[in-house]
């Protein structure tokens, strides 16, 4: 079964057409308390399938993406008479597409499901690639499955009510995809004004289509992350370290996408130092990030802790050399690059220069 990607700003029609094709005997819409209030009434007015579906509501927030909520979804499917011919429609951000996708993939060993991402981040990242799951015992995505939806319906109309921070968080992942893909895609994103992006839904939808296409291609080549899928880790080794540091040491969390945007700066510095990545592109990207995302403020006193956090990232194996995904140029990925601690510190120095801190 291969996942159908539908880019449309008439999502209700797309959903009703999918339901006509699949002919489920019952439909269950999974939302969280946010999307239940804001998106569901809109989508119900557009889709007869959604308006007549049974609604399953989860508490919003990644902290609720756990076994208790999953078990409650299973329980509602079970007691509402869902069968193997039923369909689940996940309407929400990554938390809902992850958990609802896992619930659908495992109820009676798998029922039909559709994802309708309602955040930019979920649209470009979480809804494609087949990763589903929940957090468990304090570990993120510890339990899950690789399971593709029957279809992902991607629309920018849901983004009208998104906070700017959420929008920018998703845009950082899009820029990451463009760096993996090529110069044309990268320039297109840096030339587009995402802060004003909802004035031009068609253009934004087209940029998202290109971005999701990059992820689709990589994931198809390496569905279970044995090799090239690690390209998608670009910016994430440093980004995760910044994210952890902000959350656990500064007690002042930063959005995931912001951490990735900053992490990419550091990893492009390493790419310039070690892989010949063009310095002018690094400078263009760094000044874009500085103007749009601001800077993540660190001093050299923070380096030991940041290095320890990078080494702890699950994609690493040895503590002295840390593994990174780097670029030889825009569109030229080098996975499994070992970088020693001196070079990482030098890259952090240059990052601080570039960010003006």
């Amino acid at each position: 079964m291969s996942q159908q990607l539908i880019f449309t700003n008439s999502p209700g029609e797309a959903i009703d057409r999918l339901v006509d094709d699949i002919k489920p005997n019952a439909i269950f819409v999974i939302v969280d308390t946010n999307t239940g209030n804001v998106v569901l009434p809109l989508l119900s007015s557009m889709s007869s399938a959604v308006s007549s579906a049974k609604i399953i509501t989860c508490s919003a927030g990644d902290v609720n993406k756990g076994l208790e909520a999953l078990s409650a979804i299973w329980h509602q499917l079970n007691t509402s008479g869902a069968t193997r011919s039923s369909m689940v429609i996940n309407v929400g951000g990554g938390m809902i597409t992850d958990m609802g996708g896992f619930a659908a993939a495992t109820f009676k060993r798998g029922v039909h499901f559709i994802n309708v991402p309602t955040t930019l981040l979920a649209a470009v990242d979480a809804s494609a690639g087949g990763k589903t799951g929940i957090n468990f015992n304090g570990c993120k995505n510890e339990i899950g499955a690789f399971a593709e939806a029957d279809a992902v319906v991607i629309s920018t109309i849901f983004f009208n009510t998104l906070p700017v921070q959420e929008l920018l968080s998703g845009y950082a992942e899009m820029i990451k995809h463009s760096l993996i893909e090529g110069r044309k895609e990268f320039d297109a994103l840096l030339d587009f004004d995402i802060m004003d992006g909802l004035q031009d839904h068609d253009r934004l939808l087209s940029l998202i289509r290109t971005s999701v296409g990059v992820k689709e291609r990589i994931v198809t080549e390496d569905p279970h992350e044995h090799g090239i899928r690690r390209a998608l880790n670009l910016g994430h080794t440093v980004g995760h370290a910044f994210e952890s540091f902000a959350m656990n040491c500064r007690h002042s969390p930063v959005p995931h996408g912001y951490a990735v945007a900053w992490g990419i700066v550091v990893e492009l510095v390493m790419s310039t130092m070690l892989q010949g990545f063009p310095s002018d592109v690094l400078h263009r990207y760094a000044s874009y990030v500085r103007s749009v995302y601001g800077a993540f403020d660190i001093t050299c006193d923070d380096y030991p802790l940041l290095l320890a956090l990078m080494a702890h990232d699950k994609k690493n194996s040895s503590p002295e050399h840390i593994n990174f995904t780097l670029l030889a140029n825009v569109g030229e990925v080098r996975i499994d690059c070992e970088v020693d601690t001196d070079n990482i510190k030098a890259a952090l120095d240059i990052y601080r220069d570039l960010m003006g801190i």
Copy 2:
């Protein structure tokens, strides 16, 4: 990933070889309280991988194949530092291969796992085909996934300590496979003395290999049970009704395999009535079942309830006509045969005649 099937009466060597190939960074053996006592010491003495593994023990019995036990397995994997490069070895009957397989398939979205079935039923049925899962809210296998093991290591040496009832239960599924496959396979099983089968491990292992081959072939053709995999339901629509009836109405449960053996008699009667199945084969099979499994005693007063139970079976869609998998001959499967209630009652009458009740 395709599942490797290994038939051997040196299971320890086979396991150690698999571990050498896969090179997991840690090994977890899942057993239940029965196999932990009886089989694990034997297997530990044969395999250095098993003897040095971390042991996870579940309470025996299908009633313990639920979310609580699954969560306990996940928890032990999580707190013992299992990673995506770790391996789970499931040592037990279908309950352990189902639940341990599901735990392994979902921990970090899937770690390596090997099944070592310790009952004949698990060897011929539960260990191949990729069905994993747990019971939920009183429903059997309500939650699960299709996930194939890296390998299934099948040995008859574990069957020495099995009760005769367990052995016969598994043998009924083997006979079912032979009826799906062909006359040669069917005759071979009816000519073999399973009651005395553990005198000839090599011959039994060879019969199991043939039987598992039938299931493998069907499952490969139709992994998600959209069509021909329903061949494997032969005997099960009536068998499940007998099983439920015995458990819930008579409060005197019968082993699953026995119910299937009797269910096949009824469904072969229907096959003779409606599909031209040869009457001499029906008679040979019925007298074999009567002598080895005895008879499941029913009267015509039980028919309405039995019909209701058959209609309730999840493979059925309409209440007036019930769906059966029938045979036009040994080896000639007809799926989705609708049989009306008059014909079902007539078949039950003939079953009672054949069983001498």
